[in-house]
């Protein structure tokens, strides 16, 4: 089992690539930097494939996840957190997605970033991100996962603020990091609670113990529920759900490959991964699952409404990402964990495709990102157009492309909940699906079909080079076929994906026989209908000679993202800054801490100033002090004799 013994090679390769490029790449040619970056990621991908193959053999024999402890990292009393890596079916999915899509995006970046400064730095950071993300998915305990969690947050900050000379970019990086940190605080509290309850943070130990517990009742806030909710707070931060989603749209300041890799395909899915990984805990805490489902659904709807009216092509995709992540959490929240992970996988394909295509459009337009300055590009950049169209059809949920199968599985899971609230969630999810289809097709029409709204003399539209278009095409193919591994029964296929994940999530829950079958058919039909409705409305609204109107009323509210950023600024940021400035800085730091230190110095100086006067140079004064000393010494020596005298009078 060569690779499995040395599982650490998979994250290590990108780390080495990052270190080499970071330390030496500034003087190297682009080719050399490329070789290191692509080589490390590509090799990591190949090792991952080999590891998967070996794991499947291993599982066939042992029927257990493969866990290997490499070294003890923290040992404190009875607590042990080791550098332990594990491989099970869930990890397999995540691993292949991260390394595969990551590798494709690396190739794309060699073309997209070719004219940018700091080329070596970009690839160094990107490889570093791969390292941390792989640590995150391979970790066998919460602590190591958290290392990866924090690390990808760091790389996100570095990459969002890649164009650090631009204030908006560095602000966006800071915002991402700080908002994430708030979520991480919740995550840490969750970890502490889990440790206190179960005595360990290893996945195997915690989940095995938790499985024996009695599931908590709905509405009861027991230990597991609170731990799950705290972990979910971390997930809302990392995966951009309400209320901590505000960093993701701003993160579009980073280069487009970053948006594709980190803020679409991999990092933001970490939250979904954690919830899926901890499914044992969540299934024992129905209240937490409820919260997850509701927030996921609400976010899906909320973000979709904002995406309806955005004018920046990347912002539309950003809000779309937030919305689709909401779907994944909805899937996990209603218990359809494998559906959530399935949507994670298909979303990685088509969202990466969409972002990279958008990047291709931006590259073709010489840096323009506003859709109202585009139009009529379908004939000029054919390959990009076709790829983008593929992605749009996929995300809208039109069969037989990938998005249909995954979204359908989630909505089906929501509808078939025993709780009537499931129907409400289904309804809201369906409306959000209509919106999704609408805004994606709106994007297509504004960018590629409507009349040309730019000056040909200033913008020289050209198709992207091969190193950008080939990954697009590969991702397009994956978006088409990716869903076929989980075709529902009535399409004639078996749900291979859920079967594949059944060792992790348990056997798929079958809705009773014939009624279930026809229910599935009806719901699928409704989903397709929703997608088509969205498309048609977009087609009708965005006629060739469309012109931009001023934003009023509801449109204005949506365009300004419901003023949530302003709300946070006023309600949270300003008071905190006020508190920090006026209380913590002026009172505590400058007043108390500096004051104490300075005060001691002042005090010493004052005492010195006072005592100085005893050194008058006058002999007679010195004589007086001698007398004083003599009295003191005499009194001390004769105290037993003098003592009664003081109280009894001098006789």
């Amino acid at each position: 089992m060569p690779i499995l013994e040395y599982l650490w090679i998979i994250p290590l390769l990108p780390l080495l690539g990052s270190a080499i490029n970071g330390l030496f790449g500034s003087t190297w040619s682009k080719g050399a930097v490329n070789a290191v970056a692509l080589g490390s990621t590509g090799l990591s991908f190949l090792c991952a494939i080999e590891a998967v193959r070996e794991f499947l053999d291993y599982y066939a024999q042992n029927h257990q996840p493969y866990v290997k402890q490499f070294f003890d990292w923290i040992v404190a009393g009875k607590f042990r957190a080791g550098f332990d890596l594990q491989l099970d079916h869930l990890t397999v999915v995540m691993l292949l997605v991260v390394t595969g899509v990551g590798f494709l995006i690396h190739i794309y970046s060699t073309g997209y970033m070719a004219h940018e400064g700091g080329y070596y730095r970009f690839f160094s950071y990107l490889n570093l991100f791969m390292f941390f993300m792989l640590i995150l998915v391979l970790a066998a305990n919460f602590v190591l996962l958290f290392v990866g969690w924090e690390g990808v947050g760091l790389c996100s900050y570095l990459l969002i603020g890649f164009y650090f000379l631009r204030k908006s970019a560095s602000d966006a990086g800071k915002k991402a990091f700080i908002v994430n940190r708030i979520g991480d605080f919740g995550f840490m509290l969750g970890m502490f609670l889990l440790f206190r309850t179960f005595g360990s943070l290893d996945f195997q130990t915690v989940f095995a113990q938790a499985a024996k517990w009695q599931p908590e009742a709905m509405g009861q806030f027991g230990t597991i529920t609170i731990a799950c909710l705290l972990l979910f707070v971390g997930a809302t931060g990392k995966s951009a759900q309400i209320p901590l989603y505000v960093w993701l749209p701003d993160a579009m300041e980073g280069p487009t490959p970053v948006s594709a890799l980190i803020h679409a395909a991999t990092m933001v899915t970490a939250g979904v991964y954690v919830v899926a990984r901890s499914h044992v805990l969540f299934t024992h805490a129905p209240t937490a699952m409820y919260v997850v489902a509701i927030i996921g659904c609400a976010t899906a709807f909320f973000a979709a409404t904002i995406g309806l009216v955005q004018s920046d092509i990347k912002k539309v995709l950003a809000y779309s990402t937030v919305s689709q992540l909401g779907y994944m959490f909805l899937g996990c929240g209603v218990g359809a964990f494998s559906a959530g992970i399935f949507h994670l996988m298909t979303h990685a394909f088509f969202k990466a495709l969409l972002f990279l295509s958008a990047g291709s459009v931006i590259h073709a337009m010489g840096g323009e990102q506003d859709m109202w300055h585009m139009g009529g590009l379908s004939k000029k950049i054919k390959i990009t157009f076709l790829c983008m169209l593929t992605g749009t059809v996929a995300i809208a949920g039109i069969p037989p492309l990938a998005g249909f199968f995954s979204k359908d599985a989630i909505l089906f899971g929501a509808f078939t909940q025993s709780d009537p609230a499931g129907k409400v969630l289904y309804g809201v999810g369906l409306v959000a699906a209509i919106f999704t289809s609408f805004y994606m097709f709106r994007l297509i029409y504004l960018t590629f079909f409507t009349s040309q709204r730019y000056d040909e003399h200033h913008v020289h539209v050209h198709e992207s080079p091969l190193n950008m278009t080939v990954p697009l095409m590969i991702l397009a193919v994956l978006s088409i076929v990716g869903g076929w591994v989980a075709a529902p029964a009535f399409w004639g296929g078996t749900d291979h994906f859920t079967e594949f994940l059944s060792p992790v999530f348990g056997a798929p829950v079958e809705v009773a026989g014939e009624a279930g079958h026809s229910l599935e058919l009806i719901l699928s039909g409704v989903a397709v209908l929703a997608a088509i409705v969205g498309w048609v409305v977009a087609w009708r609204m965005y006629r060739p000679q469309i012109e931009r109107r001023t934003s009023t009323g509801l449109h204005k509210i949506l365009y300004n993202k419901y003023y949530v950023d302003e709300l946070y600024l006023g309600a949270i940021v300003r008071p905190l800054v006020w508190l920090s400035t006026n209380i913590f800085w002026k009172v505590v730091d400058a007043g108390m801490i500096d004051g104490t230190v300075n005060g001691v110095a002042h005090g010493a100086q004052a005492v010195g100033d006072t005592v100085r006067h005893t050194q008058s140079g006058n002999t007679r004064s010195y004589a007086v002090w001698v007398i004083v000393g003599a009295i003191v010494v005499f009194a001390i020596v004769f105290w037993p004799v003098l003592h009664p005298a003081l109280f009894g009078g001098l006789r």
């Binding site: 006058n618 007679r620 004064s621 007086v624 009295i631 004769f638």
Partner: protein
Amino acid sequence: MSFVLFMFFVLAGLAVFGAVALILQSHPIHSALSLILVMLSLAGLYLLMGAEFVAAVQIIVYGGAVMVLFVFVIMLLNAGEEERTNFSKLASFAGVPLALALAGVIAVAIARGSGHLASATSGELTSTKELSKLLFSEFVYPFELTSFLILVAIIGAIVLAQRERS
């Protein structure tokens, strides 16, 4: 009142008178003469207590050598009446109270602590023979040291008082 007690009070009064005169006189020579009076009365007190050898030494050494030395230095330096400068505020304010406090503390300690002592003038004479025996047996080491000390003092005094070699 017995004769001894009466003599005690006379001599004590003289001693105190001399000490007060030392403070109140402005010319140092008058202070020196007052001090001689104090020493003589103290010698008388020693005699009263029966320490005749000490009394003799007091008169000869203190009165006859030390005070003569003082008088000679006063003459040598042409000391005049004291200047009435008063630079030290501390001394003017705290001097009297502190001196009184010191004396008071000592007096109280004595009064409280010496009740068990026998009378000092018991009429016994201290035998000089006994004294010298003590001096040369138990206290021989300090005795030899004092001779050395005197030698050092002589040398020091000579060196200090030399005129500058021009």
